[in-house]
Point group: C2
Chain length 288, copies 2
């Protein structure tokens, strides 16, 4: 089974806790630059490697972005080496030494008989096989804003879209309905099971749901990603259950629950974003 | 109006971005050591002071704790000085230079006409005046675990309890019911309005709700606190609406929505904790 490090091209580079990776196409946004989901996935993977235990939570702050093919140096430090829990710090810098992302998180050993349970309910949705392929995640936002536009399909050779497939289910019942809820099935195109690092890579979608909730033709620049990791079970598809919380003065906040195919809660994510408005009239195919 | 810096005793100490505070009684846990809610409140206040703009989000990682009366040095650095948004990093160290807490967050200028909205619904609860004073937050956990015990009332002269008052409302309807939901009204005993930094100081209660959801006599050591800040309105009481998400192998995760007295969503918080079991038989007054 290929590891998260394989997917991310994360290789050792110097003493313990030093790694590097290259901003390959599948680690980039649709504009070719370093993707936020990559930064948090790299942070989780580096934390797990340096501490030798599974990830518990991670917050990644996006300081800057790097162009295609840039080499990013990653340093993972254990700040508090507890017997059970390790508090860790991860920093990613470019060739000039400028910080691209900064992360804080923890890894730890689960106690076999420790407290375990799930206290949230999954939405009732159609299975991936009975869901509609997304040309682009932005379709949901446009539909909600009442804009009739034929966007070109998401180029499946560009950025994260080259390795992920998206399908929008029919939502039969939602445990916490509200404006802007979006559910989307996501899987790796190569069919590999979704790990905690991959869930973090996938979950960077909250700004979309904030725009959807506002009924605005907008998206957002993520300021950070936070993920909290539960118990994982092998699953090809994950349901990203986006729950925007609030927006104020063009800053948006919200969360995403990540469910397995069988409705098991794998992880919860949250984000803050700086919202950006789009000029619809400049979009190709607009009839609004 | 006294500022957050006044409440926290946070004073300049050296060049721009350097501050310090003392672990006074009201900044401590019930055992007299540095309280996690203090660390995130100090981080927000230092970030706002160094950047000259209001806080947007903050994650504080608890690396170690300091004893009563320790002096903590705080360094706040702007990592990405954008025109609108500042990404910041805050580190708190003790007299030996050991890291007590590390924080990442952002501050920013809200656009007056920017996207604004609330996409979550408040629980319907009784007003503070019609709610029951908590002898200790731990009562809810014991009640749910079926333990009949008379705990001594929270000593109102110790730690954060010396400045906060807690009342448990009757919950008439919850928008997202599930195991472990706890709602609690909290206010400053001095009646001052709750600011974003104070909301973060108050919100450090998720581990309690995870224990409650598990029906276990347990509490947790917070590994971190994350807060995402919406629009604030003057409010004396805030409703802390605790929503535990999951637990696995004695690690627990969950969130808290912070509502004003009028039901306006002020902020959302989330946490991961290492859970601790208590030996009930050693508690005073146990009849179980």
């Amino acid at each position: 089974m290929p590891s998260d490090a394989d997917f991310l091209g994360l290789t050792p580079a110097g003493p313990d806790g030093h790694y590097q990776f290259t901003v390959s196409n599948h680690l980039a946004r649709l504009d070719g630059k370093l993707y936020g989901g990559t930064a948090i996935a790299v942070s989780i993977t580096a934390a797990e490697l340096v501490s030798g235990r599974p990830g518990l939570w991670m917050t990644t702050q996006f300081v800057s972005t790097a162009p295609a093919d840039a080499t990013i140096s990653v340093v993972a430090e254990v700040l508090a080496p507890g017997r059970r829990t390790n508090q860790v710090r991860i920093t990613g810098t470019d060739e000039s030494g400028d910080v691209m992302f900064a992360s804080l998180g923890a890894t730890g050993h689960h106690r076999p008989d420790g407290l375990t349970g799930t206290f949230e309910n999954p939405p009732e949705v159609s299975a991936p096989a009975d869901s509609v392929s997304w040309a682009t995640p932005f379709m949901a936002v446009l539909r909600n804003a009442g804009v009739d536009v034929e966007l070109p399909a998401m180029p499946s050779t560009t950025g994260f879209a080259s390795v992920l497939e998206f399908r929008e289910p029919t939502v039969h019942e939602h445990p916490d309905p509200g404006p802007g809820r979006i559910c989307v099935w996501v899987r790796r195109r190569d069919g590999e099971a979704v790990t905690p690092a991959m869930a973090a890579y996938i979950a960077d979608m909250v700004p979309l749901s904030v725009a959807h909730a506002c009924g605005a033709v907008a998206d957002g620049i993520s300021l950070d990603n936070t993920i909290r990791i539960g118990s994982f079970e092998p699953t090809e598809w994950v349901l990203v259950d986006l729950r925007p919380h609030m927006a104020v003065g063009d800053y948006g906040h919200g969360a995403a629950h990540i469910w397995s195919e069988t409705g098991h809660l794998l992880a919860t994510a949250s984000q803050t974003a700086s919202m950006l408005h789009f000029d619809i009239s400049s979009m190709p195919g607009t009839s609004a």
